[in-house]
Structures are given as structure tokens and as C-alpha cells.
Symmetry: C2
Amino acid sequence: MSLILIAIGGNAILHPEKGNPQEQQEKIDGTCKEIARIIRGGVDVVLTHGNGPQIGNILAMQEECGLVHPQPLDICGAQTQGMLGYLLQRSLLNMFREIGIKKQVTTIITQVIVDGSCESFQNPTKPIGLYYQEERAKTMMNAGVKMIHDRKGYRRIVPSPMPFNIVEEDIIKKLISEGVLVITAGGGGIPVIERNGVLEGIEAVVDKDLTGSLLANKIGAEIFLILTDVENAALNYRKTNQVDLREITVHEAELYIKEGHFGKGSMEPKMLAAVRFIRSGGKSAIISSLDKAIDALAGKAGTRIIA
Amino acid sequence: MSLILIAIGGNAILHPEKGNPQEQQEKIDGTCKEIARIIRGGVDVVLTHGNGPQIGNILAMQEECGLVHPQPLDICGAQTQGMLGYLLQRSLLNMFREIGIKKQVTTIITQVIVDGSCESFQNPTKPIGLYYQEERAKTMMNAGVKMIHDRKGYRRIVPSPMPFNIVEEDIIKKLISEGVLVITAGGGGIPVIERNGVLEGIEAVVDKDLTGSLLANKIGAEIFLILTDVENAALNYRKTNQVDLREITVHEAELYIKEGHFGKGSMEPKMLAAVRFIRSGGKSAIISSLDKAIDALAGKAGTRIIA
């Protein structure tokens, strides 16, 4: 049976700054219903997910509430893995029961090894969490928090280093081979560095699609499926001469990235992750939306990147 | 090789209301070093842990910070499983490397099925989280939060139903049989109920030692080792006629519980969990402290409850 790694966004679970637990549950159930339908189609799935809105909420609570010691980013990330893993695994089990799939589901708390000397630790670029107004932002910056300013306000920025190893790789493979649906490397994985053989947590957030591509290679996934808000990638996106991309080679993808066709922080990192997967020996990567996922796997929607 | 289920308290990781991330790391490393020494002694270990201080901190942040939607207790519990599982698994891996043990470690996000019609949902009794002063407590109670008052102030109380099934049992057993050290059912497991075959999260906290005893039975552990703050259980605790208990039968344990020898909310639930383990077919349960754990396993410390 072919193995697919599916990466879903943290927004597939909860929109930042809104969404009560009830709305959150409905959103997760919708996502898990589609994933169950994909599996019923006769493939094996490993699931990874983003955590942007969730880790943003945890940071916001820590910053606003002086009562308890704030936890560093690696620990916040681990919290979101537990939370989102639980919500996804329970919902998936329920969907499987509903449509008669006999499959076990588990969440593996997953650490990814990053390079501690990576450039991104000197110059963090990844925006995270809530937007703040000027006065509050200045207080935070004076306290050492690095922030950027855009049209919506000030936002914290953190390092986003490249992942290059997954600590729990062997366990994940073992469970896949037993037919278990594994939810893993949530939020891009918990970033750790290895110093003299000792694993240490580090203040960073790893791009979930980059970790997804690494994971897809490590587990030998045939397809790396990135689900996002749009049905496919496009050239001249949202311009009159927009061209939707159906099937492109990895070489074409690299060219289009270089030409700046894809949005920074939105489509570009997805395309980069797809390219990385193919360049490391993967067969095909697909970028599409949740509701078009089945069509995309059948070659009837989405953008497919091949060797 | 004999299999031991070890249950450690949330206080073995972080004292409530104090402890910065650095102190937290040192405490965890100390705990994991002892667990690694136990494993080097030639046994297999499954690890479970409490989450009292940690879930208390999350609740406190949610209550103090109006920015984001508060998450229900099952989701808060899942967050602590991710957070504490990560900290323990990283530290254990480091300790294993240090003393030359080749063993993989993973945290399994674990749901426990409880009875939704259980009495404890009508009359919650389990205190949780921070203490509040009268004024703040009254506001919270007016908003529907159930609280009790003791000499230290007001504290939230929540249902603590009996666990009777572990959703991820088969996956846990599979990993144990592969020689993986599994961290599971943290904080007593995430409480869910089963309604018409559908799993639903529920607002409760399950006693970690009760879930530990269930888990120890399910996985066929030879010994259920509960680690706490004291070296052993005692009759007439802290009185001039205190009698330390070394080895007692389950029948004696039940008698002493009935006579009220053990502190409510401290030693009593541990003794009840030990009794439940033996009454369900377990061989021996041991209650001792972390630093006496190896002596206790050798029969030289702690309180052992046998059939």
C-alpha cells in the first residue's frame, strides 16, 4: 500500500484569536473526516500538523499573565503537540469507527535536531503569536523580545532553523510498519540541538513543511501532501495573468521560486519543502486544499511537483 | 526481564508556584538519572507521571488572561502530557547515553475512558491549581467554578472519576514488546467518555496512581512502583507511636485504609491504587521515594503490598 505523509496547517484546527472549543472541535472533525476518506481510498497515512495559532495563544497567555514562569519555546511546542495530537487522534478514531476502518492512532511526541550555529539564531525571521500595539510592543522589546512591525502591528519573531534529524524516527517507522496511523512532528517538531552527545531544548520554531519533507523522506513516503488554504500554487498569483500550476518538475519549481512567484511565509516555504522532498529522493509532492485532497491525489486538482 | 510500572508525582518535575525552567530541568534530570539507574539494574520500565503543578499553572494562566478561549480540562491535560513527556523523554535519552544504555524512549498521548455517569461528576472533590483569596474566589464561583476553602485559601475542585480503559493500550504493549521505554498516561491520562461508540473529552482529572494501577495490570507489570515524597507508608503517621510499614498483605492494607491511617489526597489514594493493582491480579506494589527506589525494589526500603 502506498504511504502518504499529510501535512495540515495549524489553521485547519483553529483560527488565531478566535474559535471556542466547540468551533475547534467541528473544524478538527471536518479535517479528520477528509483524512479518513483518503485512507478508505486504500493508502497508508502519516499525519503532521502546524501549530501557529496554538503556540501563539500559549505565548500570549504567558506574556499577559505574571503568575507562573513562562516556558521556553521548545516546551510550548511540546504542549501543542500534546494538545493537537490528542484532538486529532480522538477525532480520527471516531471517524474510523464511523466508516468502518479498523486502525489504531497515536501521537508521538517528536523532537527534531536542528543546527544550533544556524544563521537564523542570530537573525530570527519567523513571526509568531499575537499582534501588539506600539506601546506594549516597546515594553516587550525593552525586555529583550525581538519583534517586527508590519501593517497589522508588532509581532514577535523567533529563529526558524533547518531540521536535519528526527530523534524518534525508528519508533515512528516501527509503528507505521504495524499499520498504526502516527501523528508526529507536530508544529515542525520540538527543536533540540545536540551538544557533546547531549540533547538540549532550544528557543526556536521549525517550519512544519520542512520537517514534513524530512519526515516524508525518512519514512520513505511515496507522496508528500501539503494541505493549505488554496487549491493549488500559481504563477502571478491573484493577478490578471494568474496561471494555475498543475504538474511541474522540481527544476521548474526551483525556477519559479527564484523568480519570486510564491508568497513569503505562505506558498514559498511549502514549495521549498516540496523541492527538498524531491531533491532528497521523493517521488512526488502535492500542494492542495483539504477539500480537494482526494482529487489532488487522483491527479485532478492541486499542484504536483515531480522529479 | 521483569517489567515495572513506575509512577512519579508532578512534584518530581516542578513545585507548584515556583521553579523556573532551569530548576525544572535539574529536577527532571535528577529523576531521570534514578530511573536510568533502575533500568541498568536489569529491568524493563514503563513510566507514568502526575501533572498537578503543571495543569494548575495552565488553568491559572487561562483564568488570569482574557486574551484567548480557555481550553477544557481534557485539553489542558493533553498539553501537560506533551510538555512533561518531552522533558522526561529527552532527559532519559541523555541519561541512557551517559551510562551506556541502548534504549529508545517515546511519549504516547494517552486517553483513558471514564464513566460519565460516575458520582464524581455531580460532586467534584479533587482540588486543583492555585489558591485564591476570598474576593477573587467569589467572582470565580459566581461564574460557575466549583471551589473549596481550606486553611490556605480557596481552590478549584473538579471531578476525579475512576478510569476503566486505556484507549492506546495495544500501541503501548506493542512498543514495550519492542524494548521501547514508553512514557504514558501522564496526569492520569486524558479523560474521555464513550457515548454511542464516540469518544468525547470530558472536564475531569483522573488520579494518576489509579490510572497507573490499571495500566500496570493491562501491561502485565510484575511490580507497580509508586514514587512519592516519603520513604514508606506508616501507621499513626507523624505521631509518637508511628509504625513504618515494610511488607503488608493487600488485606492488611485494606484494613489500615478503613481505619483511616493514610492521608486523604496524599498516601490514601496511593494505597488504594496499590490495593486495586493487587486485587486485579498484580504481584506486588511498592510505595517509596525516588532516592530509595533501588533499595525498595531490593526489599530494603519502602512499603511493599503483596497478595
